[in-house]
Amino acid sequence: MGKVVLKLGNDISTDAIYPGRFMATVLPTETPQYCFADYTGFNTKARTEGFPPGSFIVADDNFGCGSSREQAASTIKGYELKVVAKGFARIFLQNAINLGLHCIECPKIEASEGDELELKGTKLLNKTTGKEFDVLPMPAARQAIIDADGLIAYTRKRLLEKQKA
């Protein structure tokens, strides 16, 4: 359960999530300071007060379009936020899965900032409006990476298997 702390529209680009001018900063421990840097209100709140873990960002379609920069996933992950979107751009979604940022594809989601959301299996419940929405399941191949706790651990496991063979 958590509150919607940011509500966004369609085609939110990686330049909006993590502007290019901060791209020389790469370490997941350092990227959170620039999260949505040009949304100054949100960024200031994130850095000063933070959010309760499990809070949500909600967006419409094509969230994370644009560049392959992984900082866009690590910067959000730094605040333990979950992202609910009607749809995600491919590279962003894969980066999120690889780094363990929780993304929920929910094609019909309706929510406003401040609403309380709860994930219940394959449904997402907006407790504020009382409406419930279907969540699309993750393909099995992606689930394997999530279950292994991210791509680093998953690749390490595969590497060790290869060594044994």
Binding site: A24, E70, N95, I152, T155, R158
Partner: protein, 430 residues
């Protein structure tokens, strides 16, 4: 049901007779490209090996390419230190497809790869850059991935969990109108498909117009396919691909032409006649906000940019030079030119294009990404407007969220430099 080009490539890369859209595969990688973000890849690569008692060596140094282009020469101590770390890693691992900040080998990764002969038809190519789609122009399946995924490729030599994408077939016929070319075509297509219309799909280009198009133009189409969300663009390899590989890239070994089956399965077919396409412009702040140039001609411009991995090639510089020769850029407008590689820069010098541009008032910068991603050079002031031949106009893209970016062809950019307003190129240019 037959196979598309990408399905055929993936069948070969996984040693299977047949694959189809939706299958999840782990293809072998023929080329793995990174730029300065290799600094993060190295970090994640070392993480993978932590606690394994194994020495962290890449799977095959001959299949890794690293090209410095995003911030060259380094704009900050941080970038310079990242670049230093990468140089050390490259030397330690024996990676020789490394292009440093040097005028005898440097440039933007998406130009250096094709012109160096690293891209082959039928190959599987991954790059830590979303515009890795560019190399589909040479008949490869080439797509962008993140840094951690690249670290995994460096370790295993395969990309994990690739879901075979569905393919959209785009058939283009007809001769281009005057002052209309590949950039206008791809902007037109993105306007029709929208910024998400090709998400998780491949765009395969066909038709007479494509057949007659130079490789340089095909690179523009595939470069910007990602702006419709495509995993990759692809032009099946043909005579023109072969010409480029032999004459420009100096490749002498056998070429593997991969064509789609007649009965391949396409999720969507789009037919375009070029007669309907007039000069196009993508307006702020999304690439699919495409209009005809003639409808926005009252827009005053502060900065013109010609260059990038989209339109910084020799034919683009020629177009600009032909329009600006013996003319002057409008007062109050600054024009920045970034050739896509040093090789192109030298060719443009020899042809006299660089003098033409400089005499008109343009600042010809060193090859590299320059102001395309808003980190390095040519930032915009608050409220300023840039007209650019690059590929993205998202808010903040050129370093200032309070500035606007319009995207267009080199002909529109050069014509607008003279008037200071977004301008339809005059007849007779091209």
């Amino acid at each position: 049901m037959g196979m598309t080009v990408v399905e055929k490539i993936l069948a070969r890369a996984t040693g299977q007779e047949k694959v189809k859209a939706g299958d999840v595969l782990e293809p072998k990688v023929d080329l793995a490209m990174s730029h300065e973000n290799a600094a993060l890849v190295i970090n994640q690569f070392k993480e993978i090996y932590k606690g394994t008692n194994l020495k962290a060596n890449v799977w095959d140094p001959s299949k890794i390419a690293i090209i410095f282009d995003h911030r060259v020469p380094a704009e900050s101590a941080k970038t310079a230190t990242n670049q230093k770390k990468i140089r050390e890693f490259v030397a330690e691992q024996g990676i020789d497809k490394f292009h440093d900040i040097r005028a005898d080998e440097g440039g933007i990764c998406h130009q250096v790869l094709p012109e160096s002969g690293y891209v082959r038809p039928g190959a599987v190519i991954v790059g830590t850059d979303s515009h890795t789609t560019t190399h589909g122009a040479m008949g490869a399946f080439s797509f962008g991935i993140g840094a951690t995924e690249m670290a995994s490729v460096w370790t295993l030599g395969t990309v994990l969990n690739v879901e075979v994408p569905k393919t959209i077939k785009v058939i283009v016929n007809g001769k281009f109108n005057e002052n209309v070319g590949p950039k206008d075509l791809i902007l037109y297509i993105i306007g029709k498909l929208t910024a998400q219309g090709a998400n998780f799909k491949v765009i395969e280009f066909h038709g007479e117009t494509i057949k007659n198009m130079s490789l340089s133009g095909r690179l523009v189409l595939c470069n910007m396919s990602v702006e419709a969300g495509a995993t990759s663009g692809i032009v099946p390899a043909d005579k023109e691909t072969e010409r480029y590989l032999r004459e420009v890239a100096g490749v002498t070994d056998e070429i593997n032409f991969v064509a789609p089956d007649e009965d391949a399965d396409y999720v969507q077919v789009m037919e375009i006649n070029t007669a309907v396409i007039q000069p196009q412009v993508a307006c702020p702040n999304t690439v699919d906000n495409v209009k005809q140039v003639s409808t926005v001609t009252d827009k005053k411009i502060n900065q013109i940019v010609i260059g990038s991995c989209t339109n910084g090639r020799l034919d683009d510089l020629k177009t600009a030079a032909d329009i600006l020769r013996d003319k002057k850029i409008s007062k109050g407008v600054r024009m920045l030119v970034f050739p896509a590689s040093w090789r192109i820069y030298k060719e443009a010098l020899n042809e006299g294009y660089v003098s033409d541009l400089i005499n008109a008032g343009a600042v010809v910068m060193n090859p590299g990404c320059g102001c395309c991603l808003g980190v390095h050079q040519g930032a915009l002031g608050d409220g300023e407007v840039s007209l650019s031949t690059t590929n993205r106009n998202f808010k903040g893209r050129m370093g200032n969220p309070n500035a606007e970016v319009y995207l267009c062809s080199p002909a529109v950019a050069a014509s607008s430099a003279i008037t200071g307003y977004i301008t339809v190129p005059e007849k007779g240019n091209n």
